[in-house]
């Protein structure tokens, strides 16, 4: 037992020595002219791109990693955003952040490369003057299936309701991902705030749940890759991974509108290095830079000029290269205001009954 005491002492000393040296290190870093603190997803921005920025502008970029858009939003609304210069919530959280006054206004004059974005991604409903949110990369939600094992042809959401698919679906989860699909299947506005429509969507989802075997947010594609399921409702990034492991999988050609989510870059209200943030945004929006970024991060991109410069490996990527009519026929997640609590109650009912 005495050895225990000694080990604790040993560890304590080791820690002290290290923290002293760590403090020294931090002091040195402050001496560099510029810095930029970014709070975003891990493995979502090419290192060479970041290095290029650091060298060109002599600004050190420090990354901190978030694990959900909602948590990042909660952190920003609770006063935890002051130390970051750029944060990456998704478009669905934008209304809450803008109306809560948690974001700083961007000066578009400092971001001339803004012009490279597709028209659909500028001046959007939640940010009509485009002062707060700069789209980075995006994701579609669609259906993939295994042609060898899937018993039916899927062309619309209603097909997911088919009794033949019992226990065959692996699905993403979340109130804001599943209710819109049910509402679209029923012919309603995907961001409806009418209680009777939400109630109908709940009934629809109850039927859908009977077919769902796995409901998960991080590894939804796992069950279709392993053969456990023959159909999966996934984000396009997950689809991309699934295609790599099982090349035979296919994207279902849907006639219904599909969901598009956009990861936005925003500047917190009290950010210390706002100019550096704008500099970085402008750099990222540069067509060549973004095209390079897409090599390591083959995701759907709102930067139309950058897409023109991409190689075939990106353009023909089966997860991105979906039928044009699907790409054009999309809907966004919008803030549903007071109806959020109604959704929540039906969602709780849906899951607690399983």
């Amino acid at each position: 037992m005495k050895t225990m005491k000694k080990s604790l002492l040993f560890l304590l000393i080791a820690v002290m020595v290290f923290s002293l040296s760590a403090c020294g290190g931090a002091a040195e870093e402050e001496a560099t002219p510029g810095e930029l603190n970014v709070y975003m997803w891990s493995e979502y921005m090419s290192e060479s791109v970041v290095q290029g920025f650091e060298e060109e502008f002599n600004i050190k970029v420090n990354f901190s990693y978030m694990n959900s858009s909602e948590e990042a939003t909660a952190k920003l609304t609770s006063g935890g955003g002051d130390q970051y210069d750029l944060v990456m919530p998704c478009d669905a959280d934008m209304t809450a952040l803008i109306n809560g006054g948690h974001l700083a206004e961007m000066n578009l004059d400092n971001i001339p490369n803004f012009a490279n974005l597709g028209e659909a991604y500028k001046y959007r409903e939640f940010d009509p003057e485009n002062k707060y949110a700069m789209p980075y990369l995006m994701n579609y939600v669609y259906v993939i299936y295994n042609p060898e094992t899937c018993p039916i042809e899927i062309t619309k959401y209603q097909d997911l309701f088919s009794p033949e698919l019992k226990g065959q679906i692996s699905s993403i989860t979340g109130i804001r991902n599943l209710f819109p699909i049910a509402l679209v299947a029923l012919g309603y506005d995907p961001n409806s705030s009418v209680e009777s429509e939400i109630a109908e969507a709940y009934e629809w989802l109850k039927g859908y749940m009977a077919n769902v075997k796995v409901l998960s947010s991080d590894d939804t594609e796992q069950a279709i890759v392993s053969g456990e399921c023959s159909v999966a409702l996934v984000f396009d990034g997950q689809a991309g991974r699934a295609f790599e492991a099982v090349p035979g999988l296919k994207v279902a050609d849907l006639s219904d509108p599909i969901q598009l989510g956009v990861d936005e870059l925003v500047i917190p209200a009290n950010a210390k290095n706002k100019e550096n943030a704008e500099l970085f945004l402008n750099y990222l929006l540069d067509a060549e830079v973004m095209a390079e970024n897409l090599i390591a991060n083959p995701y759907t991109c709102p930067n139309v000029e950058a897409i023109k410069l991409t190689e075939d490996s990106y353009k023909l990527n089966p997860a991105i290269n979906i039928p044009q009519h699907m790409k054009d026929n999309y809907f966004l997640q919008l803030d549903v205001g007071e109806a959020a609590t109604v959704y929540d109650e039906y969602w709780t009912m849906l899951l607690s009954e399983q």
Partner: protein
């Protein structure tokens, strides 16, 4: 020097002595924890209680208007059902951890202290890596194309892969793997100090081992048992990620209900009131334990 002065000095002296004997040590020992609990726990808790009586504004902020709706809202059958499911799962988890953890802690505690320290270390090491990665690895192990299925198929014991992932069985294993040390550590601390002479006396008097166990060992280690029940049951109430990652995800427990209120629906007042409910359930349970198990005599609380 008159007598009243002497009395004064005397009383000052006794006071100082009293301080030295009682107040100073009390301050040194109970002071830090009292400060910590007041400042870092009760102060934030006051805030949570405060917002639990407020309402949600249009975009998910807090509107400072008093309401008790968040509490009456909980009485809806849908939420009562969620609470009930959570209590059931926590109870089940605690039971399994105790049934497996007790003999295991007993085994370790009977070893010489050096060996025991190593064995305890061995049970903790897996927890020094990421719990999420461990759960996913367990999933890989039990997957249709996972190690277990492949071995069983190679041995010719099964022709089709067994469905293990996304079943209740794997959830139980996951819960056990996640919570076991919370049961074992307090049990170990309590069993270790068990005076062996009591057990010997009992068996010398002719008691069968089972009788000795129930009549001597269990009562003497009751404080450890209670501590491990608390440490397993209470966190289990809010735990949802094990059934979510291994059980197929179609589950709503009070843990993910509260998470949704704070993050997705942004109904912080309702989330706060649910958290208060969790605290009340816990306090009630503690009260219940002390009453039923008469633990007040054992100075556990």
């Amino acid at each position: 020097m008159n007598s009243s002065d002497t009395v004064k000095i005397n009383s000052r002296l006794t006071k100082r002595r009293h301080f030295k004997r009682n107040t100073a040590p009390a301050l040194a020992m109970a002071g830090p924890v009292t400060f910590w609990m007041l400042f870092f726990v009760l102060l934030p808790l006051l805030y949570v209680i405060f917002i639990s009586f407020m309402s949600r504004d249009l975009y998910g902020g807090i509107a400072f208007e008093f309401t008790t709706e968040n509490y009456t809202n909980m009485l809806k059958p849908v939420y009562l059902n969620v609470i009930w499911q959570s209590i059931k799962l926590a109870f089940f988890t605690t039971l399994i951890c105790l049934l497996i953890g007790y003999p295991f802690a007993y085994y370790i505690a009977r070893k010489p202290s050096k060996v025991a320290a190593k064995l305890l270390m061995l049970i903790m090491i897996p927890f020094w890596t990421n719990s999420l990665v461990r759960l996913y690895s367990l999933g890989l192990l039990a997957a249709p194309k996972g190690f277990i299925n492949i071995v069983l198929q190679k041995l010719g014991l099964i022709s089709e892969p067994l469905q293990m992932l996304h079943t209740n069985g794997i959830v139980v294993v996951g819960l056990l793997i996640s919570m076991l040390p919370f049961a074992v550590l307090p049990l170990y601390a309590s069993i270790e100090k068990l005076d062996k002479s009591y057990l010997e006396a009992s068996s010398d008097l002719g008691a069968r081992p089972a009788v000795t166990f129930w009549k001597v060992t269990v009562p003497l280690t009751l404080p450890g048992i209670v501590a491990s029940i608390i440490l397993v049951f209470i966190p289990s109430l809010g735990m949802y990620y094990v059934p979510e990652t291994l059980g197929g995800g179609k589950i709503m427990l009070i843990g993910n209900l509260i998470r949704n209120q704070f993050l997705v629906t942004r109904n912080w007042p309702f989330g706060a009131s649910l958290s208060i409910l969790l605290i009340l359930i816990t306090l009630f349970m503690l009260w219940f334990y002390t009453r039923v198990a008469r633990l007040d005599e054992l100075e556990v609380f």
